[in-house]
Point group: C2
Amino acid sequence: MSPPAAVENQSQPSEVLDMASSVSGPLTLDGVKARRAKMKMPAGVAPVCSSDMYKSPACFTKPKAKRWDHIISSESKARQASTLKTAAQYLGNPGLISLGGGLPSPETFPFDNLTLKIPTPPHFTEQETSESGKVLTAGKYDIRNGKSEYDLEVCLNYGQSTGSAQLVRFVTEHTEIVHNPLYSDWQCCLTAGSTSSWEMTLRLFCERGDYIITEEYSFSTAVETALPMGVRAAAVKMDEQGLLPDALDEVLSNWDEAARGARKPFLLYTVPSGQNPTGATQGTERRKAIYKVAQKHDLYIVEDEPYYFLQMQPYKGANTPPDSPPASYDDFLKSLIPSFLSIDVDGRVLRLESFSKVISPGSRVGWIVAAEQIVERYIRHSECSTQNPSGMSQIMLYKLLDEGWGHEGYLDWLINLRMQYTNRRNTMLDACEKYLPTNVASWNPPAAGMFHWIRVDWKQHPAVLEGKTHAEIEEAIFKSAVNEGVLVSRGSWFVADKAVPETDMFFRATFAAAPGDKINEAIKRFGIALKSQFKLE
Amino acid sequence: MSPPAAVENQSQPSEVLDMASSVSGPLTLDGVKARRAKMKMPAGVAPVCSSDMYKSPACFTKPKAKRWDHIISSESKARQASTLKTAAQYLGNPGLISLGGGLPSPETFPFDNLTLKIPTPPHFTEQETSESGKVLTAGKYDIRNGKSEYDLEVCLNYGQSTGSAQLVRFVTEHTEIVHNPLYSDWQCCLTAGSTSSWEMTLRLFCERGDYIITEEYSFSTAVETALPMGVRAAAVKMDEQGLLPDALDEVLSNWDEAARGARKPFLLYTVPSGQNPTGATQGTERRKAIYKVAQKHDLYIVEDEPYYFLQMQPYKGANTPPDSPPASYDDFLKSLIPSFLSIDVDGRVLRLESFSKVISPGSRVGWIVAAEQIVERYIRHSECSTQNPSGMSQIMLYKLLDEGWGHEGYLDWLINLRMQYTNRRNTMLDACEKYLPTNVASWNPPAAGMFHWIRVDWKQHPAVLEGKTHAEIEEAIFKSAVNEGVLVSRGSWFVADKAVPETDMFFRATFAAAPGDKINEAIKRFGIALKSQFKLE
């Protein structure tokens, strides 16, 4: 059981405000170095930190977020600041010896150093990394020896629930560079991965008996996280761009509290880019329209965005090579569809960020971005649950992203991933055009993510005449595919509200995992299964 | 947001049972190699595993745990197995290509290798490690290249909520070697640290409105975790050996449901060794007596044991050198007070294990041990929250504990820690005898842990005559100590049930963090503060 971490150093808000008057404009790639030179990394083990230390002064000139007190859950409202942390205020006293905290001494951490071999941008292939990769070392006392801003002494001890200052700095800068929020008091807080932060978000807002709004097909684990808390999903229809604003408006406008036995939903869970399972990506206008409906009904938006940087080059038909990669960082950033966070004027968006799809799921480190009042409640919960994300993960991410690559190198990596995923997606679509019977199978080319969503016109299935149900036919096709040697996911697994009968039938295929030749072979097998099921050959 | 991990391989229960007939006796240090030779490490990314694969056959001949269905919470009962994991059954099909899961390809993990420099037992000092430490390397494809049983390809991807097979094997073997549970169906499951596992344990068992039993002084974060869930603490009196069995019996026997507005408590939270904050350690007979009361009242026991291996050599008075370290592993293991887990015949104990105090808090990896039915519910919750402990932490722990040290080297490390903490504790006690005014300050030498608990006879404080309260005098002493340059923790911070007025007054001082000379100086300052407060000089 971990004691709360000690505080050795605290940022001075006055310093932040002083800087606000001296510089203007949002943080840019070029601006990071100048900005960093003005803000020292807090010293010691588990120093308090916040995004305010790393945001550009321009942020502080914007209006504040609205207040969301009316949708904070009773559980979250009851959270008090940790008793033990009240002692932290004295730790800055010069010469004070602390016998207060329960932090072990770094002598008792049995690691002298850690090294990591990482790719040197833009040479990102495994072979290039093996041949020309850079080796970074983290020693135990690199900070006090002036060798690095982060070290094993700090990362191996307890940390703050915000995450380490070193990584909070990086994700804050990244957030401003990519999203540049429109209100002033946004904050980043590291998480133990988005599965954890979604669970904590539900507990932050929802009471037993509540409904949340989800897409009609949704990430099933997200819904399964809510159900045991007594929180149900009210599903909204989708098209090829995902959630339909009019359908959202309709559900909320016609909400019948008595019939539903629940208050009107106030929380939307959405995956705007490369949605799981449908692969749908909401375009810019779609996002604006959804945001407008959210404002109309005072709906708070949780955008779960693991696939944001898996936005791909446009698909231009079978066997057509992809467009060349974005020519500059600026072009790349402009090519990205604006996030809800970036169009949020009210502070009504909580963004779940993840390294799982772009660096490594095994890190179990992500972050959230939201209004300070929400992030503060999140931190209070973390202190009594995840405590802090793994320090071992944090130093590996810091060495890679900050010391190894910097923001530019990370964008190079993301551009490289974009092209890799484009190629993978194209391989799958080419195979679909080649092997799938288009009289029963249809699809839209996914613009982002890992998933291809194939609609099957099940009404044409011969067993319909025998009175077989949707579920039976879906199972028959699924099993036939397995027999042919390919595993795909059944669309019904992702139905958010099981009380609503499915009219269409879908199968989800991922192009993220298997190599290109296997993707081709797998789709070929799925085609054979479909043809045999539908008696097409 | 993380998809559930795929299953590439599953243990065969029949294999486990076959082995049960061929070997007898619990797993010993010598038996680990023979046992390992018989059980192959499951292959692939995120393979399913369980402790049953790694327990000795002798375990399976024991009686099963009782059933605890009657104390599982409604939230936990509502948890279903993950929909997406139902597809995992097909992954073993030969030649099958999976387009099912959402796992990224290992090519997209930007790490070629990781190295760690660790101490070579028994040369554990930082200087020895720097000079003669061993360097261990983890490559991306070490498993398929036959170089290791664990690698970056596996640890950097999603994993099972049980934790990786590699680390589950180690902690299962360690658990059997140290505790050898008396019932058959115990299981280990890795956690994201004990702060997280305690929160999940509360949600597994408790409903809003419940009381849990705690020690009268308790780890304040543990109580603060429960309160927002609507779960309150019913505190039980302690002496120098911690929780008093008779007082426990009395609280439970006289529980008045109407007066309390709550059903009779069924869950005890206790820190049996080196309790935080009191430093008290329950002796063997004390534990047996508590267990007996638990059986009488059908109380389920959560033993939070981060300090178990910080049991120290006996304190024999000021300036007396400690006894020499245990002469053998066997002597060391026998020197440890039996855990509740090791005397548990009913399966009524959930043990929270931690690496935080013995390896590194930053790992955010611990494990639980409990009856399979409880661990299964815990895993269902993990799948919708922490997902899996950091894979980066897991490979660092695996390299250190399993590949680097093995069980023997880990015990060497723990013996070394025992001596280090003994020296630290002795330094503090020597200083207390030298500097504290014994007419107002008194203490018992702690036998385990990080904490020294100093009783102050506050009734002698001059301000009592002026009508000052307990709280005011405690604050005055605390602030006087801060002014003298030492931070200690106030006993009142740890009062579990704030409705019960404190009669005694305590201050907690840790000997874990500061170096020896600072400990001496800090206690000297505390002595000055006490003398000045009590007008003793």
